[in-house]
Symmetry: D2
Subunit: 343 residues, 4 copies
């Protein structure tokens, strides 16, 4: 695990401390090198006893022995460090945005586009690497891009408008000062809207001739920061290719499953989307932890038709640190393992 000592790193450590397939061999950090994980997290959360005494190492491939590397490095560090690990033969699964938009780097939601993993071969060939880099989306993208998949498949998709209310944990432990957000909302998150507008087009795109052809949709986004701890809540309006009865929209969402469900990956929920009929749900504090592995289910509610034919609206909630980061990466790693891409 590279960059293991931040907010997301903690979640990885917790999830991996009870994982049936994976075990943490080493953790790396920056300012905390030389400390134990327990010391690095002091005052900010809990470390499972199992890993409390792991020493934080520098992010150097020569010092690490592992079958797979998770990276939750900040963008700039990721840009530098991840290729070194890939070149040194490590499969790298990264939450960082550093390489997400490169044409030969797969951007994966395991339920949505597992076939994009074939880009790995393109990537290795083109770059001459023994290892490779696979990326997961921005924490805000996952929450609505996953529910878009069944809608795009079943009814066709033309346009999306998303307004997000994002939890402070999404900005890292020191990211949002309390003076900025207590009793307040900030209607802007630097760099976020561009990511959120672009990523779904790649994720929902088709792999044609070793290249992802983006889905032909437009995505407008307004990203806000709200005084919640975890759980990105998003109000989504979609324009479908045709007018569809409400029940069909609900059925499409609620019934959706993908490859991780089919091959029963350990971190995959039985159903990745839960659809609430209660109007006052989902709520970040009550519902972010949904799922057999808590935080892996995306909660959708308030599914309604818009005033104009062919439009539908819903609210979606996802655990930004789990389904939006660590959980997605672990599920992606399970997929790589199951598909024999770690051998």
């Amino acid at each position: 695990m590279l960059g293991a000592t931040g907010m997301v790193g903690q979640i990885y450590v917790q999830m991996l401390s009870r994982h049936p397939w994976f075990e943490i061999r080493a953790v790396t950090g920056n300012s905390t090198v030389g400390k134990t994980l327990g010391e690095a997290y002091r005052g900010k959360g809990h470390v499972p006893e199992k890993y409390a005494d792991l020493e934080v190492l520098p992010s150097d491939p020569a010092k690490i022995d592992a079958d797979l590397v998770f990276s939750c490095l900040p963008t700039k560090a990721a840009r530098e460090v991840e290729p070194k690990f890939a070149a040194a033969g490590f499969p790298v699964v990264s939450d960082s945005s550093a390489h997400r938009y490169l044409p030969d780097v797969p951007l994966i939601i395991p339920e949505v586009n597992p076939e994009h993993l074939d880009l790995i071969d393109v990537q290795r060939r083109r770059r001459g690497w023994d290892g490779y880099i696979v990326t997961t989306p921005n924490c805000t993208t996952v929450g609505f891009a996953l529910p878009l998949k069944p809608l795009a498949d079943d009814f066709g998709l033309k346009h999306v408008n998303v307004v997000t209310m994002q939890a402070v944990s999404g900005a890292g432990y020191n990211g949002v000062p309390s003076m900025a957000i207590l009793g307040n909302i900030i209607p802007y998150i630097e760099g976020e809207e561009a990511k959120v507008s672009e990523e779904p087009r790649k994720i929902l795109g088709k792999l044609v001739d070793s290249e992802v052809k983006p889905l032909d949709i437009t995505v407008d986004a307004t990203c806000m920061r709200a005084p919640t701890i975890v759980g990105h809540l998003e109000a989504v309006q979609v324009e479908l290719s045709r007018d569809v009865p409400l029940e069909e929209v609900v059925a499409s969402l609620a019934g959706f499953t993908g490859l991780p469900q089919k091959i029963e990956l350990p971190t995959a929920p039985r159903r990745p989307i839960r659809v609430f009929s209660e109007e006052e749900r989902p709520q970040p504090r009550l519902d972010s932890d949904a799922g057999e592995v808590p935080g892996m289910v995306i909660s959708v509610g308030r599914v309604r038709k818009g005033k104009r034919p062919g439009t539908a609206m819903f609210v979606t909630l996802s655990h930004n640190l789990i389904r939006g980061a660590a959980g997605s990466a672990i599920l992606t790693a399970e997929l790589l393992y199951a598909l024999r891409r770690l051998d």
Copy 2:
């Protein structure tokens, strides 16, 4: 003032305690009848000394002597009480939704549709009242319906999508339990979306032959409750009749004024809309109080073009208790006074 002892009532009392034209003659309440205003507000806020000793009366027209009646009664009580006052000869300016949608009752934002006040004559004639009822919009409607006015006038308007994050004060002092909202967002407010979808069509409509012809637009709304004290923040996407350069949209919003500005009503801000260029504004805690009379200016920010031609996006913030209630009603009363409709 009818129903003076709630959250909005307090704001009225504060605003009227320093008003150049109006003075409170009597306040009415329900469970607090017989107490003084000071006692009725105990523990929930401040009462200006000037009015602290006013006795709370029952809402009975026979007991009240005033040139105008403000009503912030709950819907059910308003439905019953307001017509009694209108029949007894009082001009009633009401924040309640009870009569807002009746064809002969004007629904007024003074900067937007002062000409709708001509409905007063229709109303009096039809109902045989000496007095009349004039209403102000839902607190959430004002925040985006006012900025829609210049856009509709300058560019034509076809569709609106609004996602709101509403402060807890909008639900009354006891409306939102802390258990429900601390560190949380509730993606639903009962009855709100129907109001928010319907009211702008009437407000922006044309008065033709003694009748309001609603503006031909569709409004989709998602209304949420957020852990903020005051200030409804709203993310708006509009579809205009034609593609317009961003600067023109900004200029249209920032330059807008209406009749209250022209005739310099005391509670009217010099410019009803302030447009921020800073991306991280407006924010409820910093900007709700904007304006020469605090809370009367609507703050707009993040004005952008959408991905599709002819669409624009912005964020709007309004003080839900002032511009969204007491302030709008007082400004409407000033308009009635200036137009000699209180004689």
Copy 3:
């Protein structure tokens, strides 16, 4: 379970849904009679599937078949209903304050004064009941009365000053309006300080000749409400009978165990008190869930000596709904069962 549909009721249901000894046979309520538990909790929390379909009954002994009754009724209802159940032969374990201060009713913290259960015989004899009432303390009392026990035993105790910052869940779901507490603290909780000052004297008292002789200490309390969800945090200053080195105070607290630990009751933590050495702990959001059964361990931190000889200071945190209510009652019931008082 009497009064099962409030905040505390929900916790009981969750805890009992995975309890090794107990099973819920029936739940009672008031306004929700006839609904299922699932419906009664709608929008306020989760019900374990196992009990979601239980029908809410009225609180009538004739309709209930159970070996033991938990009561989390409001005080007034408890005063009336609990004696009926006791008279009808039910052992009643009550969180309510209704009977807590009666001389023949035991007020129990299982680790502190299990021997007070002998009052049951006095109670039955005096009142001619087949059943009996046993009570648990106020949620705020438990947090500091339990740590006082080892200090009183080891060093003698003369005076206590406690300042509390209590979570909003302690007042019930609708107890604290968000308008009152968002970004605020309320320095008063009705009726609380009297309870908090009196209860430790009874709990720490000696049973002599079928009567509890209160411990001869004075307790000064200032009880405040803070914008936290769960976890009552309390700053405690004690005056001991003699000057004691800091390490002895820490050792006394950290080493404390009682009868529930000795006989290994299922809900008993291995050590009821955890002592933090990190200065910035315990914190409500991080530490309220401490314990093998989450929420049963009381977290103590910042143990220091005061400026005057013989004084010590510490901060204590307890989960107000678990160790402060449902968990204490369940542990008490386990004790009754283990001591063969349910036969």
Copy 4:
């Protein structure tokens, strides 16, 4: 103004923008040197138009022309910079803790110990400065040290125990991450308790032979951070030299005035202490702004006698940025001006 660009700096600028005697001639900063004040505060608050275009200068005495210098520098910078200004002939009024505890530096609450200003002469003589340094107390100290003054004078004071719940603004804009404090309380503030225990002894001390003889009391403190924006709320227990009826304690507090009241300094409230009889007050959100100049009055409530004779308890609230920093410094400067110590 030195270090004008932080949280407290903003308050100074606002207060001085409408001050009858003082005007800002120059502001200094560190990372914002070269910007205007308006740019330096962007996104964090408002700057009065009057001072928005002031350029931020480096903290160099050679570049500043002023009759008095306010310093709200961080401790380390203050230690270095303030003596330079004093040596260069400037009177320096400082909020910083850097020189507060030096025997020849007065630590002033204008209502409490104006006579300590005579230390200025000692200081100048000893250090050979043309100017001098006067300091104001820690923001937490003011809130309870001021109310202690009448109690010490009227009844004698032996011991104080204070538990504080401090607003996040006290730590500076970036001081408390939202992840740390949302829905949480942190029972520790680094370095705070030592200051809070020591300062009242100096402030309440007597000036004897050019030296402050500290008041012979002990102060125990527990300092916590709470999720409030402004207003430090403190629960105080005092041990007086004799048992005093409650009404006398209340009268002593409510009736207290000092020199600033007598000579009617512009920022002095008519009465520095307001005593609430309502049990649920004072509250940070409702009462921090108390006073003719908002934030200069200290609100006291819940005055009660303790269980032991001679003890009394109360709760005190002070605006940590105004009475706790900028306001105290401005009032001190007014005192210096009135006493002709700026000539």
